[in-house]
């Protein structure tokens, strides 16, 4: 157990280090120079003006010091949650990001957990009912094959633009004043539903198919046969099969996180949902590099935390990891 967590923690620390370094290095390695790009936003007439403004911007970007200093400064910023100012919002990046984070979490947490639980349940059920198998499998594959961008566009068009069952863009009705009253909350939920459904559906199919296959596989194993030969009820055998099948699904969840986070970005862009994904899109189109750097670090930290939560759940679900904690041979 201690070894398990030490290994995981080392991985996360290294991942954080690598991500921070990459985040710092990319703007410096790429051909486009952010300082030059930012200079084009000014109307400059003389060379003296150009030199003065360039010096000013270099200083405010912190690129007028040696590279190693820049790297240390960046770490200092990361550790203090300070990523500079966003050009687009003319506010500290951290403020802008914090406003967007709740929306993204509101999409991701329910979409991931619900698709995981429902997908596993339905998948396990499909492993024993032919009719369910014949519907869940093709539909699951279809949703898995559909790109997030396309599914989101199709939903936005048919359910929002054409039949007007749902609003199509934004996080809430812009005519309302944000506050904790029913009208506002209802508006929030209405705007939330379609992006949530998109992210949910794509993942759901994957979990259902994975669980179906795993349960069928577990039912063929020796322990399941032995249990049946002892005269155990079908229900009991299925219960054990399910418990064993959940473990690989849980490891799969950690692997799937990155994909879901990416899909969520695209979905938010389609629905102009004011989360991190939409913010990334704005940062790209405004060439707002500080904002982009800040969002990247936030997403990395979020994914690492989620991974850690999954590790803890894994220990709870898999008794073998707990046994090794109590001193039994692993």
């Amino acid at each position: 157990m201690r070894r398990y967590f030490t290994r995981k923690l080392i991985t996360y620390v290294v991942a954080f280090f690598v991500a921070t370094t990459v985040d710092w290095a990319i703007p410096r390695l790429m051909p486009g120079n952010p300082v030059q790009l930012y200079l084009t936003k000014f109307s400059i007439t003389t060379e003296a003006q150009y030199a003065a403004i360039q010096k000013l911007i270099s200083a405010s970007f912190g690129v007028n010091v040696p590279v190693w200093r820049q790297y240390l400064d960046f770490w200092d910023g990361v550790l203090h949650w300070n990523f500079g100012l966003s050009f687009y919002a003319t506010e500290p990046v951290t403020h802008v990001v914090f406003q967007a984070v709740p929306y993204t979490l509101a999409l991701l947490i329910p979409a991931i957990t619900l698709s995981y639980f429902l997908g596993n349940r339905i998948g396990a059920m499909a492993a024993r009912r032919k009719w369910l198998d014949n519907t869940v499998l093709p539909v699951g594959y279809l949703f898995q094959a559909a790109p997030y961008a396309w599914l989101a566009l199709a939903m936005a068009y048919y359910l929002a633009v054409r039949y007007r069952w749902f609003p199509v863009d934004g996080g809430y009705n812009p005519g309302l004043i944000p506050g904790w009253n029913w009208t506002f909350v209802a508006s929030l939920v209405q705007h939330w539903f379609l992006p949530f459904l998109t992210v949910f559906l794509v993942s759901f199919g994957g979990w259902a198919i994975g669980m179906r296959n795993l349960v069928i596989y577990e039912l063929e194993t020796d322990y399941a046969r032995y249990l049946r030969s002892l005269g155990a009820s079908q229900r009991l055998v299925r219960k054990y099969a399910y418990r064993n099948a959940v473990l690989p699904q849980l490891s799969g969840l950690a692997l799937a996180l990155g994909v879901v986070v990416g899909g969520n970005i695209v979905t938010e862009v389609v629905f102009q949902y004011p989360g991190l994904g939409h913010l990334i899109f704005l940062a790209i189109s405004d060439e707002d590099y500080f904002l982009l750097q800040g969002i990247f670090m936030f997403i990395i930290v979020g994914v690492l935390l989620a991974n850690f939560v999954i590790d803890i759940v894994y220990v709870i679900v898999d008794p073998r990891t707990r046994l090794s904690m109590q001193g039994a041979p692993a």
């Binding site: 398990y4 594959y141 094959a145 994957g206 194993t221 997403i299």
Partner: protein, 335 residues
């Protein structure tokens, strides 16, 4: 089965490696594992590279031709491949042709035209299929290559190298691929199709490495590998001639899936406007449709067909993959 033989933690890692999540698909959670395992069982007695001999190949073909899933998936895929190759010849208009804007689908314009430039969406889709395939193939090739090398090295060598490569793999898994690609591409003003494919490949390999490592790990302990080692052959030669052939079907399935997942990553990426600046992929068409407010203008024919084409391309691969799995794996054949 190999899944149950390892120590607990390895068992978790192993199974996890087989289910790369919603896109790479847990479809394979069982299927690939069983296919690999079953083949190990079937081939091990024959030992070594010779096991892939003539009779077996015909047997595969026999079952392949009688597998409806494989035939259906392959059939649909081949139609799209034909479109990718001959599409530009068949296209009624040039993808940059300017005609009457915002036309509904009709006999002249099967998928209507765009607005405000009036380009023919059908022709654009015919061109787009090619670029999407090229990016998918490049992505699969590079991700597969890196994943195989890392997986074989970690699984065969073991020890410190294994620890380092596993750490590298797990670190890569923690960094979302699409987010990394976005951050890198945002700084580039010109991006090629080639660049996109290579980058998707270079970031998409971790789950392959994990899965291949786990498979190599179980094969490394086999007698025929010990024998090869005793005969003094070099590690690379043992991996290529003794280990890889014994998981050939597994590797094949991994490539099929990588192909599908690379196309999916690319379409989402292109949709954000970060696609190739020298081409026109299916994702680019959807990107343009949102830039010109096709959604608000009710021009569904602009974004539904390109996405539907890509969905079919990926779906056909998934179905063919399930069929292939049944062909490779005798256990699944009867059912």
């Amino acid at each position: 089965m190999s899944i149950n033989t390892g120590p607990p933690s390895a068992a978790g890692d192993f199974a996890g490696g087989l289910s790369p999540g919603p896109i790479g698909s847990p479809i394979l959670a069982q299927s690939v594992g069983v296919a690999g395992g079953a083949e190990l069982a079937a081939v091990a007695p024959g030992a070594g590279g010779g096991s892939f001999g003539g009779g077996r190949r015909w047997e595969f073909l026999h079952f392949a031709l009688r597998n409806p899933k494989l035939m259906l998936g392959l059939g649909v895929e081949l139609i799209f491949v034909a479109v990718a190759i001959f599409g530009p010849l068949l296209a009624p208009y040039s993808p940059t042709y300017h005609g009457t804007p915002a036309l509904h689908p009709s006999a002249q314009h099967i998928f209507g035209t765009t607005s405000p430039f009036g380009t023919d969406v059908f022709s654009q889709v015919l061109y787009g299929v090619r670029d999407s395939y090229v990016v998918g193939a490049l992505g699969a090739l590079f991700a597969g290559a890196v994943g195989l090398v890392v997986g074989f090295a970690a699984g065969y060598r073991g020890g410190l190298l294994d620890e380092i490569l596993q750490l590298l793999t797990n670190v890569m898994i923690c960094i979302p691929q699409l987010v990394l690609l976005i951050v890198i591409s945002a700084y580039l003003t010109t991006r090629g199709v080639l660049f996109e494919g290579v980058f998707i490949g270079v970031t998409g390999w971790p789950w392959v490495a994990r899965a291949v490592r786990a498979q190599t790990f179980t094969l490394r302990e086999r007698d025929f590998v010990d024998l090869a080692r005793l005969s003094g052959r070099r590690a690379v030669s043992i991996v290529v001639k003794d280990i890889a052939p014994n998981m050939a079907s597994y590797i094949f399935l991994v490539f099929v899936l990588l192909f599908a997942s690379s196309m999916l990553v690319a379409v989402n990426f292109d949709f954000l406007g970060l696609g190739p600046t020298n081409g026109l992929s299916l994702g680019d068409i959807m990107n343009q449709s949102t830039l010109w407010s096709a959604l608000e203008l009710h021009m569904w024919w602009w974004f539904i067909p390109p996405g539907a084409a890509l969905t079919l391309m990926v779906l056909a691969l998934y179905i063919a993959n399930v069929g292939l799995d049944e062909v490779f794996n005798p256990k699944l054949r009867q059912t």
